[in-house]
């Protein structure tokens, strides 16, 4: 066994899950696994997601995993509230984390430019970095996909280096272009389609997240890793990227 694998096994063994099952609605239960955001959570959240899906089968209506929780919506014509709670405990007893290396690594080409990423100068200034160094810093980490939400295919990723952490805009934009890459606090994400939003936008990608989501096959899944790669305007355009500048300034 190589030293890296050994270390991971140790860390797994150290971690204990104190699961709580809470009422969220008439026919929905919140399975709470953790109280803080951590990339190491994902191996457990994904494992719980798989177990709950197979255990509930046709009695499962929706299961929405997030950073620390899974919201389980069950069919109350098949199960009572207490039966559903018991089934969750049964499904998750003796839970072991999945191998996080199983997630996909996505390479996302981004054209970082002030015209499509209006907050580049502001975020760089806050971080005390040149714009080039900021871009290098944003590209320098394989971000973990924590959850999908907000819009079809929208992945909440992190954690961004603390020096780049920037609060959301005071006034959200009414229109953020599809493909916009932004950061909010220590999270980063891509807007799959034109939508309102308050994240700090640094650049734009042409990767079609929404088309994937529409087919029920999102590009990103929780536990995946995402690596941003800076490309030139020429490369972005050659790939069919839309260079229309962001219209609104906050």
């Amino acid at each position: 066994m190589n030293p890296i694998t050994e270390k991971r096994t140790e860390r797994r063994a150290e971690r204990r899950i104190e699961m709580r099952v809470e009422t969220a609605a008439m026919d929905a239960l919140m399975v709470r696994l953790f109280d803080t955001i951590d990339e190491a959570n994902m191996a457990w959240v994904i494992a719980a997601d798989q177990k709950l899906r197979s255990t509930f089968g046709s009695a499962l209506i929706d299961l929405v995993p997030s950073y620390t929780t899974l919201l389980l919506h069950y069919d109350c014509q098949q199960l009572t509230h207490s039966e559903a709670i018991q089934l969750i405990h049964k499904a998750l007893s003796g839970l072991t984390p999945v191998d996080t290396q199983a997630g996909e690594l996505h390479d996302i080409p981004v054209w970082y430019n002030e015209s499509v990423g209006p907050e580049l100068p502001m975020v760089a200034k806050r971080a005390g970095l040149s714009i080039d160094d900021l871009i290098a810093q944003h590209c320098n980490h394989d971000y973990c996909v924590f959850a999908l939400g907000f819009a079809p295919g929208y992945g909440f990723m992190g954690l961004v280096d603390e020096s780049l952490a920037t609060p959301r805009l005071k006034t959200p934009r009414r229109k953020v272009a599809a493909g916009s890459v932004g950061i909010a606090d220590r999270q980063t994400a891509i807007y799959p389609l034109l939508s309102p939003g308050g994240w700090n936008i640094l650049g734009r990608t042409n990767v079609p997240l929404f088309e994937h989501a529409k087919r029920g096959d999102p590009l990103f899944r929780p536990g995946d890793k995402v690596r941003f790669r800076a490309i030139s305007r020429e490369e972005f355009e050659a790939d069919g990227g839309d260079t229309t500048p962001m219209e609104e300034r906050p």
């Binding site: 929905a28 997030s66 999102p218």
Partner: protein
């Protein structure tokens, strides 16, 4: 034109008319919202009146506002939910009935007299492309609808349907959908974050009426009243169930409805029951509502009882 291609043509668009079915389920983990008829009880009655499968695609008509249709062929339609002062060639139509339209006749929805959303069902259900297992139209997500772009029904759209010989049914007097009156009760199942609110906030939440704000849509309905405060300003984003009553820092609750975002980070009092969500979907701004706590098992009993009326 081939008879089967004829349909109901939109002559004037109202403020918001959407193709809806029961909603999009099993896709919440993709970030895709539930959608579906906001007043699911009236929606089911509309399909029931024609003998359709209860989740068949129908129209959800908000306000009316001059929305009008002209039919190109004879058809029986069913209308339930809000009384939007609907008229067939100038003659008033009673809500919660089915009626026949003859070629050239015009159907108009004027303005709400009672309730907010009417449902118009078609024989066998409306023809519309299915996206991710549903025909529900969600504007924000650009999913569903007649043209698969999430857009509401517009002038010139031609609506066609699947069936030919609908049933002719009547809703029993005692069972039909009733539009809520001011002072109505909205049962709520309390959630775990209830503990983060102050005792004073909890007293206020359940012991005085809330006013339905005009900031209300298919995503959420804001309630105004005394500011509710607690110890949590925000939480780590987690899944949002239908009817979740979230309280942002301004202390004014927002009830999250069918088109809500799938995850969110404000603390919650709990979630309205599905029956309460159907009630709230019919409340015009200014309506007073009471949040009344109910246990999950009681709420399920009430829900299962509601389902028995369509058996």
């Amino acid at each position: 034109m081939n008879e089967a291609h004829k349909g109901l043509v939109v002559k004037q668009a109202g403020p918001l008319t959407l193709i809806q079915d029961a909603g999009r389920f099993g896709v919440g983990h993709l970030g895709v919202t539930q959608g579906g008829a906001a007043d699911w009880i009236s929606f089911r009655w509309a399909n029931w009146l024609l003998g359709n499968a209860l989740n068949s695609a129908a129209l959800e008509i908000v306000m009316g506002g001059g929305l009008s249709f002209e039919t190109e062929r004879e058809v029986r339609l069913a209308l339930t939910g809000a009384d939007l002062d609907a008229q067939l060639d100038g003659k008033p139509l009673a809500p919660n009935t089915s009626f026949k339209l003859l070629p050239g006749q015009r159907l108009v929805f004027r303005q709400p007299r009672q309730g907010l959303r009417a449902y118009l069902a078609f024989p066998g259900g409306l023809n519309a492309p299915e996206v991710l297992g549903s025909r529900a139209c969600t504007a924000r997500e650009q999913l569903g609808g007649l043209h698969e772009d999430g857009k509401p029904i517009n002038v010139g759209d031609r609506l066609t349907w699947k069936g030919t010989a609908p049933a002719v049914r009547r809703i029993p007097e005692s069972q039909g959908p009733r539009m809520p009156a001011s002072g109505c009760r909205l049962p709520i199942v309390l959630g775990s974050q209830i503990a983060s609110f102050s005792g004073h906030a909890l007293f206020q939440a359940f012991n005085q009426p809330w006013t339905v704000d005009n900031r209300a849509d298919r995503m959420g309905v804001r309630l105004t009243g005394p500011a509710l405060h607690g110890s949590l300003k925000g939480i780590i984003s987690e899944g949002i169930p239908l009817g979740a009553v979230q309280v942002p820092p301004d202390g004014q609750p927002i009830v999250l409805m069918n088109d809500r975002q799938t995850i969110g980070g404000y603390p919650r009092l709990g979630a309205l029951t599905p029956i309460a969500c159907a009630t709230l979907a019919q409340c015009l701004p200014g309506t007073q509502v009471w949040l009344t706590p109910v246990s999950a098992s009681q709420a399920q009993d009430d829900y299962r009882h509601q389902l028995t009326v369509w058996r």
